[in-house]
């Protein structure tokens, strides 16, 4: 099944499922953000990260343990 990039498919259903209302201007902003971010988010989700070592609660003040 193809992923949908169109805001027409995703945004109204997503907002409705969460019970979030949006006016026309807000919908335009959400649509623009979606078109900007969604293709890259789909690429990110498609990454095979099964070999990435687990780093639970990483200490960001230091280099990761090696």
């Amino acid at each position: 099944m193809e992923a949908a990039n169109s805001p027409d498919d995703f945004i109204p259903a997503g907002l409705a499922a969460l019970g979030i209302e949006a006016d026309e201007i807000e919908l335009a902003v959400i649509g623009a953000a979606h078109q900007l971010f969604w293709p890259a988010i789909l690429e990110l989700i498609a990454l095979d990260t099964s070999q990435v070592p687990a780093e639970r609660s990483p200490d960001l003040s230091q280099a990761p343990p090696r």
Partner: protein, 456 residues
Amino acid sequence: MTEALDLSLREQAAAIAAGELGPAELLEATLARIEERNPALNAVVETFPEHSREMLAAAPPGPLRGVPVVIKDEWPLPWRAQRFGAAEMLAETVPGESGPYRALRDAGAVFVGVGNMHELGASSTGNVSVYGPARNPWDTDRCPGGSSSGPAAAVAARLVAGAVGADGVGSIRYPAAYCGLTGLKPTFGRSAMDGHHMAGVSTTIVSGALCADAADCRLLDSALFGEELAAGDAAGLRIGVIRGEVSEDVDPAVREACEIAIEDLRRETGGEVREVELPELATATLATVLIANSESLGSITPERLNDLDPALSPLGRGLLKYRALLPAIATIKANQVRTIARHTLASVFDEVDVLACPTVPAVAPPLEAPMVELPSGTLTADEANVRAGALANLTGIPAISVPVGSTEGLPVALHLQAAWGRDELLLDAAEAIENANGRRWVEAAPPVQGAEPLEA
């Protein structure tokens, strides 16, 4: 007293300590300068002279005794809750003592005002705020940078010599770059953070200084860190130039100025330059944006989103609602990308001491339309700026923006990043660049001070 206002942060501190400058006179002159210059800039959104005078009266004999500073509208003060540049924050805030407030108070500094910021900290431009935008002292029709817009504009216009910002996705370094200042994003966890409404939740935000040059940042950041950031010499510095769009999809004049600065740095330190590939950078940028945006979701409910203050900008309202739609799997993958990026950087920093690229790919865009022209085409400033700024927030490493040139009468800046805990090295490298160019760019004065704009 005008001359005292134009001294550096460290010169003001030294003159007060030596008894050559009266701190009460400096405070009153600073308040008068804010009154005189701020209407054209909207950098400072609130002053509180009586509280400032009380702070001065109680100031301990610390390294910043009597020195006036501005703090971003992201931190509470004992007499004022932060507003985050917004009509509504979706987080409860009350007046109180934040970590930066306590650190600077205990060092003897005096808060004279609250700095403007981009609404909800959500942009690199500073063109949207509940107070109206701050303006860039180099050209008041241009963006000052965000989200620490007011602190940067205040220091650039010499309302004060130092200010406290916060950096969650580049928010100290972008305004430092646009306003011709030096701005350090500390290693995660090294600078005072408590009292921030995202403390304990955010894994990207840090406090940090915005000042004219590296020595002033060293002094102010030493107070924020609670430890002295000792000076070294950066001798034999191994400089890695990041290849790819952060260095190449850049305005040609910006690219040239940064290449000159990198060569200056190499020569001044007797170091070496090599190219570095960071193939994960684009994914890391998205990961940073996803993590930073999802970490604020805890205070959001559909009911609150349906009852947002209408004074929030349409952009702010729309983006808050879009955050609620981000899928959990994307945030989980983003955290895995964080792990990959941290391991990659750990290996890279075995080979080089600093990573270099332009802080922002083009000079400050117009407030009315914050778009930038790059070799690849026209982009929003946010899309372009986040490419270089995000990695340090994702991974926790320190980064600094250093003024290194000018084009169209506006500042150009170089971005340096180093391994975890090497904040001092970044300040040393910034000072090496200043020495190499005769401090030309850190001493450049914007036209609001009556000086002529400098050209490269």
